[in-house]
């Protein structure tokens, strides 16, 4: 896996954009002309120093107000890896952007201001990362230059977040004292913090090992599109196109076709590079089978053992993203899950969750913008799914407003073990 997807989150003014600017600048992902125009703008704002944050704020209003509004995607690479970085704003009201950025990330980068210690938002970022199933967290304790590079500002933050991340079952976590503004421990190791013995941020991200998801996870292939050329040359051709959501599959393997549960054998796997004997998670392939079955978009191929659930009622954790409406029991919505769209309604709004402590706030009658709750959903047709904690690709869904077509909610099927119990 040489492509690493990172989500960065931070609070207002903790230097997140500066850190990203520094990563882009020091890895030479910024071209000179972009740098020049940014410098000119920085001078117009009469900054004393070159404002690296301006490199990442894309919209006019963001540059004017010095804030980040929307998720922005950044790209840089080193000889070891290509990085895709989702830069998400840290304002309290923008939880939905954080959830968005975290949904595709392998690693969460949390930034904490060394002067302020762990604030409510740092905890919230860790919690959202955990809810979204991120396995690796890197905490950058920033602005060390403003606390004279002293270890006593670093340790309490590390201890505090170490306990939280352990409770959240995030086993891979790492703490790095940095100064994004001056470049300490970002790309090069700083000699101003001899008490910190590990390496700087970028080499850590380059060497971070991601687990091979294809070994112990079940095979899941949501059928996306049925290819039928209807030409003389390919008269009887029928291929099932899609992206493998989890696991591995090979030619000759017996599979189950859900929801019917009929079994068949794989006769061919066509990849973008041509025919192959096997394929794994993340590959976009076309699968051909030995039997002529009634299969359309929304069906799912799986192994014959360890099949996905097929239900029209299930528990899920939902993050609400609409300013205009709230989530209430009985309201009709559209749900998009894998390659399947159906209608859904909440049959039980079990509880609202305090995102900072993960404690159960008890019964509520609605979820508002940026609130997270535990619900039971009923759908107009059965969905074929796994728990989000087991398979991201078959356990996630979005909720769509039937009248405005806006995406108004994001959901993860199941119930995290730590949710509701509250954190220490």
């Amino acid at each position: 896996m040489e492509l690493l997807r990172i989500a960065t989150t931070g609070s207002v003014d903790d230097g997140k954009s500066t850190l990203i600017g520094r990563l882009l600048y020091d890895s030479k992902a910024i071209y000179d002309d972009v740098l020049d125009s940014t410098e000119q703008h920085s001078r117009r704002q009469s900054s004393e120093y070159f404002n690296l944050a301006l490199l990442t704020d894309g919209l006019k209003v963001e540059r004017e107000q010095g804030i980040t509004i929307d998720v922005a995607y950044r790209y840089f690479s080193t000889p070891k890896r290509k990085f895709i970085l989702a830069d998400t704003p840290g304002h309290v009201q923008y939880t939905r952007n954080m959830v968005t950025g975290a949904s595709t990330a392998d690693v969460a980068l949390i930034i904490v201001d060394a002067r302020h210690g762990v604030v409510e938002q740092s905890r919230r970022h860790a919690v959202i990362g955990a809810l979204l199933g991120i396995k690796h967290v890197v905490v950058c304790i920033n602005k060390m230059d403003l606390v004279d590079f002293k270890e006593e500002f670093f340790r309490p933050i590390q201890d505090d977040l170490h306990d939280l991340l352990t409770e959240l079952e995030i086993k891979s976590h790492h703490f790095i004292p940095i100064s994004a503004l001056e470049g300490d421990n970002v790309v090069e190791k700083s000699d101003r913090m001899p008490w910190y013995i590990d390496g700087p941020l970028l080499p850590h991200l380059e060497d971070l090992e991601l687990p091979d998801n294809t070994v112990d996870t079940p095979f899941r292939f949501p059928v996306q599109y049925v290819i039928r050329p209807l030409s003389n040359e390919y008269h009887d051709y029928r291929g099932y196109a899609g992206t493998i959501a989890s696991g591995r599959v090979e030619v000759g393997q017996e599979i189950a076709v859900m929801p019917s549960g009929a079994t068949t054998t794989i006769t061919a796997i066509e990849t973008p590079e041509g025919d192959a004997n096997s394929a794994t998670e993340g590959e976009a392939v076309t699968i051909r089978i030995s039997d002529n079955l009634d299969i359309s978009r929304g069906a799912m191929f799986s192994g014959t053992t360890e099949r996905p659930a097929t239900e029209n009622s299930f528990d899920a954790t939902v993050c609400w993203m609409s300013e205009r409406t709230s989530l209430k029991s009985g309201v009709m919505l559209r749900i998009k899950h894998t390659t399947h769209t159906a209608r859904a309604m909440v049959s039980d709004l079990e509880c609202r969750v305090d995102i900072n402590s993960l404690s159960d706030l008890g019964f509520c009658d609605e979820l508002k913008l940026n609130e997270i709750g535990q619900v039971t959903l009923r759908t107009s047709e059965p969905l074929i799914f796994d728990k989000y904690a087991d398979v991201r690709g078959t356990g996630s869904f979005i909720l769509i407003d039937e009248s405005t077509n806006e995406t108004i909610g994001a959901g993860m099927i199941g119930r995290p073990p730590y949710l509701g119990a509250g954190l220490a």
């Binding site: 002309d33 919209l59 929307d70 595709t104 030409s231 390919y234 976009a284 998009k336 979005i398 995406t407």
Partner: protein, 310 residues
């Protein structure tokens, strides 16, 4: 670089490219499965060529079930037009042309008489008319998020209202690989399958796949003149003004747009490998190096995008 290092870095590149390729194919298939009338914007530039290549891969062995759309300013490089026509004929797909010259003749748009004016901005109304007349509900575009900072905020599925407008502050959240393509009649979605590709990824993929490009991407001799520090191609559409001298230079083009706004750069790169070597060490962005249209204002792209531009 010793041979072991070299083969490692080639492997690395290929696994990156395959991951990007899979993501793009997933997006293209999603659109074909969910929309009634998609179309693919094709300029004859390298990004739209790669996008078309991916679409063919995503749906093979079936023929592409949608047309390609070209917004023709009438000021294109002849090499690009030739490439476009041959490509459409080879793939046996329909070509829909939105013509700026026709729109000028009919009075739908007015040419600016200001010095330095191009037909760039005139493309927007013609593009929106073409989308409306063709009843397209999804339009693939080859834009990449690394191109320009307003683009870095763009979704893969970018919603456009009845006026074709992009509202950057009010975009649909986009999670996992679950794209929301619901629209009402008159609205459409711009789909950007290459969102996560960088310029270098595009070139390396062209090399890995052996994709043919229009000849202007490679070094050739051309009559040019210098304007604002950029080498503009001398043509019937763009002529030198006071004091600008025409001379012959060996150039290639890093992006391909209108002849009036696309600048060339001095180069001896005749092969893909040579072009990639030059780009890998380039210190100027592709839009900065070759697009006069982005130099007009700091937020030029954002402003044009809000109006419905590509």
């Amino acid at each position: 670089m010793n041979s072991l290092e070299k083969s490692n870095s080639e492997l690395l590149t290929s696994s990156q490219l395959r991951a990007l390729e899979a993501e793009s194919i997933h997006i293209i298939r999603e659109v074909v499965a969910e929309f009634e009338r998609p179309g693919l914007l094709f300029s004859g530039g390298k990004d739209s060529i790669v996008m078309l290549h991916l679409a063919v891969k995503a749906l093979r062995p079936a023929k592409l079930p949608f047309p390609i759309i070209h917004i023709d300013t009438g000021h294109n490089f002849p090499e690009t037009i030739e490439y476009r026509d041959i490509t459409a004929a080879n793939l046996e797909i329909d070509l829909v042309i939105g013509s700026v010259p026709d729109a000028l003749t009919s009075g739908r748009v007015q040419a600016s008489t200001l010095p330095g004016a191009s037909r760039n901005r005139l493309q927007t109304p013609v593009l929106l008319d073409t989308i409306r007349d063709g009843k397209f509900d999804a339009v693939f575009g080859g834009a990449r998020r690394d191109e320009e900072r307003a683009r870095s905020k763009e979704r893969v599925y970018s919603f456009r209202d009845e006026f074709g407008q992009w509202d950057p502050k009010n975009q649909r959240p986009e999670l996992w690989n679950l794209y929301n393509g619901f629209t009402n009649p008159g609205q459409h979605i711009r789909v950007f399958p290459l969102s996560n590709w960088t310029e270098l990824d595009i070139w390396q993929y062209i090399l890995a796949e052996g994709i043919e490009l229009p000849s202007i991407y490679f070094a050739h001799e051309r009559e040019v003149f210098e304007r604002d520090g950029m080498l503009m191609a001398y043509s019937e559409f763009l002529k030198p003004e006071h004091g600008e001298k025409v001379f012959t230079e060996r150039v290639r083009f890093r992006t391909v747009g209108d002849m009036t706004i696309t600048a060339g750069q001095k180069s001896d790169a005749e092969t893909l490998e040579q072009v990639i070597t030059e780009i890998a060490v380039a210190r100027v962005s592709e839009r900065g190096a070759s697009r006069a249209d982005d130099r007009t204002a700091e937020a030029a792209m954002e402003d044009r995008k809000r109006e419905g531009y590509f």
